[in-house]
Symmetry: C2
Subunit: 403 residues, 2 copies
């Protein structure tokens, strides 16, 4: 018998009307004879509402109690959806994290699922019951409520699919699937039918926020087939699985962008071995993530300029750290936070020559200056002036046959 995990996000269960609609989707799946475990998020807006309440109490609200507070959101959805299914004469039952239990490890508000007891749920599934489980939460070994970070319901769904050895894990959301680029910005964006875990990871970490990255990583690690699809249409979604099962006809799968970037140039740094390492070690210790790095050849053999990109939120912290450190000598710091990162992603890139050249030529044709470059096996990213973002995406989308 097919075993499925279905996960419904916040907008999918945002109102009682939508919850009734979700119950209909589950009814259809259940009538096909599948064993079904459902994972739900809090109703959209609910988690933010609870966070707001906590901030009214304290800006540094105790994390143990924050977990108790936030976990109530998914509990509400669980009960409402179970009630909606029972109303449709389906045997259904909510099972909260402590009832299963789902065991987590790590600090409050940022724990991770390490184990899950299967006996109770398997018994219910064998008995023909649909089980509804709250995403995003668990309990620690000593019985405290824990949560696993924003978007954690995806991680719960994938962990359940893994532990119960499910045949598939379907992520229901408010979009039709994963697109070749942002469909809100570029109307010719196309839904991707099949995509590999790696590509999905590159796209999601680059701003296509369809699924939480760590959940995709877990699915990749255990080879759990995923499908991202819409709660609101009956269209097929995007299937995500391992690269070897995909036949690539195109070199580039999608174009992603991010406007969170800022470029920092440190001018006149002493040009000796280890100086760049010193800088980046300092930033790393301060939890600042450096993305791309360019070091120019020094003209006078004594000093050099180092350019790198960080998240915009980290710019002032970065400058402060460089200023405060006496060991790193430099002439000036220049910042530019009006930049964007544009990336082409595709598992087919590695076997197609000339992708890099075609990208650079296309941008040059549009008079767009490239400020920094970084590459990986399946991704090529450039930093450009923010104002050219849309122009660049459109051009790349067209020349790589994605329209």
């Amino acid at each position: 018998m097919v075993k499925k995990v279905l996960k419904f996000g916040g907008t999918s269960v945002g109102t009682t009307e939508r919850i009734r609609h979700v119950a209909n989707i589950i009814q259809k799946e259940s009538s096909l004879g599948s064993k079904i475990i459902v994972v739900v998020s809090a109703m959209s807006g609910k988690t933010n509402e609870l966070i707001k309440l906590s901030k009214e109490i304290s800006n540094e609200f105790n994390k143990r109690e924050l977990d108790v507070l936030l976990s109530s959101g998914e509990q509400v959805t669980c009960a409402l959806l179970a009630g909606a299914l029972i109303k449709l004469s389906i045997k259904a039952k909510s099972m909260l994290s402590w009832q299963i239990p789902i065991i987590t490890k790590g600090e409050h508000t940022n724990a991770r699922i390490i184990n899950m007891h299967v006996e109770k749920i398997n018994k219910c599934l064998d008995n023909g019951e649909v089980i509804i489980i709250p995403g995003f939460q668990g309990i620690s070994k000593n019985g405290d409520v824990t949560t696993i970070g924003r978007g954690g319901s995806d991680a719960t769904a994938v962990a359940i699919a893994k532990i119960f050895n499910a045949d598939s894990c379907e992520i229901y959301t408010d979009v039709d699937g994963v697109f070749s680029t942002d469909p809100n910005k570029i109307p010719v964006a196309k839904k991707i039918d099949k995509i590999s875990y790696d590509e999905m990871l590159e796209l999601s970490s680059l701003g296509a926020k369809v699924m939480q990255s760590s959940a995709v990583q877990t699915a990749m690690m255990y080879d759990i087939p995923l499908e991202v699809r819409s709660t609101f249409t009956e269209r097929k979604g995007t299937k995500i699985f391992s690269q070897e099962n995909i036949d690539y006809t195109k070199s580039v799968t999608g174009v992603a962008y991010s406007k969170d970037e800022a470029k920092i140039t440190v001018i006149g740094v002493e040009d000796r071995p280890g100086i760049a390492a010193n800088i980046f070690e300092l930033l790393s210790k301060a939890q600042i993530n450096v993305d791309m790095v360019i070091q120019n050849i020094s003209s006078d053999q004594k000093t050099t300029d180092i350019t790198f990109t960080v998240k915009r939120d980290d710019v002032s912290k970065t400058k402060q750290i460089l200023k405060n450190n006496k060991d790193i000598k430099y002439v000036a710091i220049i910042q530019n936070d009006k930049v964007a990162k544009i990336s082409i992603v595709g598992a087919g890139m590695v076997s197609t020559p000339g992708v890099t050249y075609r990208m650079f030529r296309a941008l040059s044709d549009e008079n767009i200056n490239i400020l920094a470059i970084s590459t990986s096996e399946i991704k090529l990213s450039v930093i450009i002036e923010e104002k050219y973002t849309l122009k660049a995406i459109k051009k790349l989308h067209t020349i790589f046959d994605l329209d």
Copy 2:
């Protein structure tokens, strides 16, 4: 060391500002060196909001899931209050029903607390921690979430006071205490300083909804001293304890009223033994609570008229049952749902002659007709036309020296 249970109702924790205020009250108590267990209700309006959501799904929402849904309300308050206390540098911790656990018995939405594990909480108390517990809920022996009925947070507080052998149980609410009559209607109503469990029970079942009746019953059974007091003033509240500890200077302690009543007269019922029993057995089986009964002496020796009172909500059901039963023959049914029940309550009544006479005379002086009467050891109730309610309360309040 003094051990106290403090219970805060829905209006006391209705906003985050009020929750911070409650944290201040607890801080004051804690600084006196007491061991403190706090029981909280859901924020005011929250439970109704959740019930509304369930009704949008189904008017007969599954009760197991309703318990999962509703129990989230108190969980939110627990976390917020614990967070507010920690912000004040007080060691505090929420403990949910399944973490303690609080064991209940009986059907969903109407369970009752039968046991509670004390080890974890005692350890925390010994460690100087303030423990915050959600009222109104528990878990069943097989680990399902249960709730114990509306107003059940009072019952939770009293059960905890009993099991932990607390020195007192303070019920914080939005009124100053128990009044001699409804202070919103009768401005000369006076706060009662001390009242017996029995009187409190008669008053609360008659509409002075300061505390849930079954909680007062439990307190009486185990002789747990209660105090009802306001969260919003520093005034002393009303102390509730056993009758023998109260010195009665007045025969009547309070005047209560209820507008939930309806009077039904069945005319021309066959006058033979057992006929009244037949009627009331039928109604009892249908969960209809009959309050007062008057059976007139029959004029023709063959038929009689039976008058009784029921809750207004039960009137149509009552009529239906009588109509559908072929064994009970009668001529007609007359209903009057524009009636009110006025009661004088006082443990001193039994030792004061003439109270009944004085009550009847007072009402007669105001030209108020008495439609039915019932009496107990410490209570005397009459049914009158609803329009005379205020007039009757005022008069009785005055003649029994309560102003």
